[in-house]
Amino acid sequence: MSGYETPETQDDSRFWDAAAEGMLVFQRCDRCAFVRWPAAGVCPECLDRGYTWEEVAPRGTVWSYAVYHRAYAGYLRERVPYDVALVELECGVRLLTTLTGFDDDVDPMGAAVVARFEAVGEHERVPVFGPA
């Protein structure tokens, strides 16, 4: 309509498609090997544009987590209370996720975790993390 070409933007669909198949994949810089997330067309370490999507080990530790007792959007009303966690993966990426499989009396802070691929809300298979 405007005559301008829409620039190609990076989307995260490769990550979610891989998760549906039970894999964690991120972009690894072809030049300096930095593993980055969120998806981007340029490496924040060396500014090179070349990258390859690569499967990484689905292991890490719980960096922190929070437990939502309030739904800040309608679609979350039936989910409260729910937790949101940041897991520090062995590849260096910190991934926003949720935790599963911890006993109520266990504090998961710092725990070694491994990815599982399960339903969250209406999403059929997304990465969640449980005890390693």
């Binding site: 922190s64 929070a66 969250v120």
Partner: protein, 383 residues
């Protein structure tokens, strides 16, 4: 550029000559832009300054994109020599831009104005933080989420307790009792705090600020113009900033260790030692920000915040008054503008029932989310 080469020492070159605000709370039937102009009108009227004196206008957008200079200038009937709009709030960044513009000779009397109607608009700040996909999938909404994660991480590293964190909001509320502008004025206790239910554990309602409708404005002037406009100028002694623009790619996004670099620059820039700060202002959309900045600026040891309040080192009744307006946790969000208004009033001896005697130097510390930090040191004396 190495930090050591940065200046920020604008001691005596600019001063705040007026600070003003509208009421806070629910103010229906007036747009955010009109509120900003009302804040400007009140500030000029209280200071006895005519709008024709203004040759610089700096505005910042409220949530939703309102408050751009072209709109505020149109409504206020201004054609200033210089104008600009920041895409993000917290008045430290507006103040620093005003000082820079004045120092560069682009303007001599600059109004920094902010207005918002987010409370009437019913904004619940339910938008996702971080990448849309991840945040939506996992329900990572509202600033309470990252703040809660930051606090749990802090607890993990330093053994900080929820009772320690309670001290922040309880102390600030004690000031708010004497602040007619504050939305929350009922005194609270650590016991009240601990009895409140979690919103996003480990945070509770008292840990989060109140969104309001309202406006605030400050007038910043070149030193010679300041002397003509007021007999009580509040001098800008030094400014410093640091970004964390890498955001998710930062080493510790929620803990924001890069704030320390502002702390390393601000005291040399102002030419004072930390100990010379008589009152401290910390922008506090959540109580965690206060905890983080007390540590990063070196006022307490990591993990020592609770004890610092209990021992009387900081806070209400303590040796270092902190957020004497009640902060955003009691007063109103207003993107940090009211902290600076309060600092100006305290330094001028115009803070009414909550006036702290003998204040000469105040420091204001703020952040823009997880991407920017800034600090300003203000003084009643020019050098």
């Amino acid at each position: 550029m190495a930090a050591a080469q940065l200046g920020g020492a604008i001691r005596g070159r600019t001063a705040i000559v007026a600070a003003g605000n509208t009421a806070q709370g629910t103010i229906p039937g007036i747009s955010a832009d009109e509120l900003a102009v009302e804040g400007l009108r009140i500030t000029l009227a209280e200071a006895g300054i005519d709008k024709s004196e203004i040759d610089g206008l700096i505005t910042c957008k409220s949530f939703g994109g309102f408050g751009i200079d072209t709109e505020i200038g149109r409504l206020a009937g201004l054609n200033p020599a210089y104008s600009a709009t920041l895409d993000y709030g917290t008045c430290n960044f507006s103040l620093h831009l005003a000082c820079a513009a004045i120092d560069a000779g682009l303007a001599s009397v600059v109004a920094i104005a902010y207005g918002t109607n987010q409370r009437s608009a019913g904004n619940k700040f339910g938008h996702p933080l971080g990448r849309q996909d991840e945040a939506s999938v996992y329900g990572f909404l509202n600033v309470a989420g990252p703040a809660a994660m930051a606090f749990r991480r802090h607890q993990h590293l330093y053994g900080t307790t929820e009772a320690d964190l309670a001290e922040v909001s309880v102390s600030q509320r004690r000031y708010a009792v004497d602040n007619p502008l504050a939305i929350f004025r009922e005194p609270t206790s650590v016991e009240d705090y601990l009895a409140a239910p979690y919103l996003v554990a480990p945070l509770r309602r008292p840990d989060l600020c109140m969104i309001s409708d309202g406006a605030a404005c400050l007038i910043v002037a070149r030193a010679d113009r300041a002397a003509e406009l007021t007999d009580k100028p509040v001098h800008v002694m030094g400014i410093a900033q640091q970004t964390g623009l890498r955001d998710r790619q930062n080493a510790d996004q929620w803990l924001r260790p890069w704030i320390q670099q502002v702390a390393e620059r601000i005291y040399p820039a102002a030419g004072i030692e930390r100990e010379a700060v008589d009152a401290l202002y910390i922008q506090d959309p959540t109580s965690i920000w206060v905890l983080q900045m007390l540590e990063y600026y070196g006022f307490v040891e990591p993990g020592g915040v609770g004890e610092a309040f209990r021992s009387g080192a900081v806070g209400h009744g303590g040796r270092l008054p902190l957020n004497t307006n009640g902060g955003q946790l009691s007063e109103a969000y207003m993107w940090g503008f009211l902290h600076l208004c309060e600092a100006v009033r305290q330094l001028r001896g115009e803070a009414g029932a909550r006036q702290i005697e003998g204040l000469r130097t105040a420091q204001y510390c703020s952040t823009f989310g997880f991407m920017k930090a800034a600090s300003t040191i203000l003084s009643t004396e020019a050098s």
